[in-house]
């Protein structure tokens, strides 16, 4: 049985083909913003699903905030917990930001993504690896990334945590922390800057979207 996710714009036209072209849909969930036309589109999908006997939910997101929208979608997908093989995400509808957020979530969570071709109206699968992208990081790197994300706001300005904080907090050795932080900085998800109050210290912060690698709200 398949669960279908989708992004919605002002009409459901780009989402309905995904419902039509499958015979095993169990549930559907659409993401849309608070524009009245999008809300009405969501209601139309609700009526369509009711006729088919498909469970339906809609989630309002900020269709102009990429990381916020992706975070909300990711949380919904993880909450429902379906197996990736039983889930399809139609990323066609809505703003470009909404579609981009959906693609991000598909890549991060290893979901099958489809879009409806503008000219043919047919559903086309996107060439994604169905592997959770965040699993590229090792468990140790994720721990360090999570620590920095959780502690960067502590203490006085400017924000950031230090390698010493990580060593103490995670009880890891200096070379180990240095290695993992180095990898995360090289990957571009952690930024390192000198402490303006103490040039000897380097402050570590995560880029906002890196929280998606941890499955946490931005």
């Amino acid at each position: 049985m398949t669960t279908i996710y989708g992004t919605l714009g002002f009409t459901p036209d780009k989402f309905l083909p995904t419902l039509r072209q499958r015979s095993d849909v169990e549930a559907a969930c659409c993401f849309h913003d608070d524009h009245p036309d999008s809300v009405e589109a969501a209601r139309e999908v609700a009526r369509y699903c009711k006729d088919l006997g498909v469970d339906y939910a809609s989630v309002q997101v900020d269709a102009f905030d990429l990381v916020d929208a992706a975070g909300a979608m990711q949380a919904e997908v993880r909450d429902r917990g379906p197996e990736a093989a039983d889930l399809v995400f139609n990323v066609t509808g809505g703003t470009k930001v909404l579609s981009a957020a959906a693609i991000l979530v598909c890549i991060l969570e290893g979901l099958r993504a489809v879009y409806v071709h503008e000219e043919t109206g047919r559903e086309v699968p996107l060439p994604l690896l169905t592997v959770r992208y965040d699993r590229v990081l090792t468990e140790a790197e994720r721990r360090v990334l999570r620590f920095i994300a959780e502690h960067e706001g502590e203490g006085p300005d400017p924000p950031g945590t230090t390698q010493a904080d990580i060593r103490a907090g995670l009880e890891l050795s200096k070379p180990t922390v240095s290695h993992h932080v180095g990898k995360l900085v090289d990957h571009g998800v952690v930024e390192e800057a000198p402490d303006p109050d103490d040039g000897r210290r380097k402050l570590l912060t995560v880029i906002p979207s890196a929280r998606l690698l941890l499955g946490e709200p931005a």
């Binding site: 503008e118 086309v124 699968p125 571009g188």
Partner: protein
Amino acid sequence: MDEGEEREESGTGEDATVRILVSLLTDDLDDLHRARRTVAYDRLVLVAHPAAREAAKRVVELERGDDVVRVVEVGGRDARDDLAAMREVLAGHRAAGDEVTLNAAGGTPATVTAAILLAFETGVRTLFVQEGRTERLPVLEGVRVEDRVSTEGRTLLAALHPEQPRSLDDVAAQLGWSRPAVERTCRGLERKGLVALRIVEGRAAVEPTGVGRWLRAHGAGGADPASS
């Protein structure tokens, strides 16, 4: 003028890395101007769909010539076609040792989709530059899609025909592997979305998917400009 002479001419020195900003383009130039303000670049590559041709010409004039600006035209309607075009652009710049930043905002929805797919496929530094904010996408820079496939997986992908299914027995014979080993590797690749397993004329067969074909051509036993 060869590349070395071009760099000296620009004052960056023979060994200086050329910074490339690849940005999607619509007919509204505000998006592009934001990206140009946000990212330092030596050269600009505009990915433009047909409706953005005039906008592209204006940018070439603004930058005073096509030494700085290159326009790559894409259809803007099919993400897979746009992705193929953008892969070629990126591969060329990486082969040249250039430092590339991609702005995935702007363009049509299909092109935006293609840009984000490209970002995660290739591990290129990618921004999403919008009015009021710039997001850096959570792309693990330097991590490419082929890095997430085992050596065995890449070897098997290289043994497949790009367009037609091959029987598992034929693949096993060619690689000198046992049939169970081929099946196991195929199932792993199938779970990743890289191959599809089918029955052809009563025999179990395997063929690459779209991303599997790309990986086969660029990263699995073939020449990979991105890795140079």
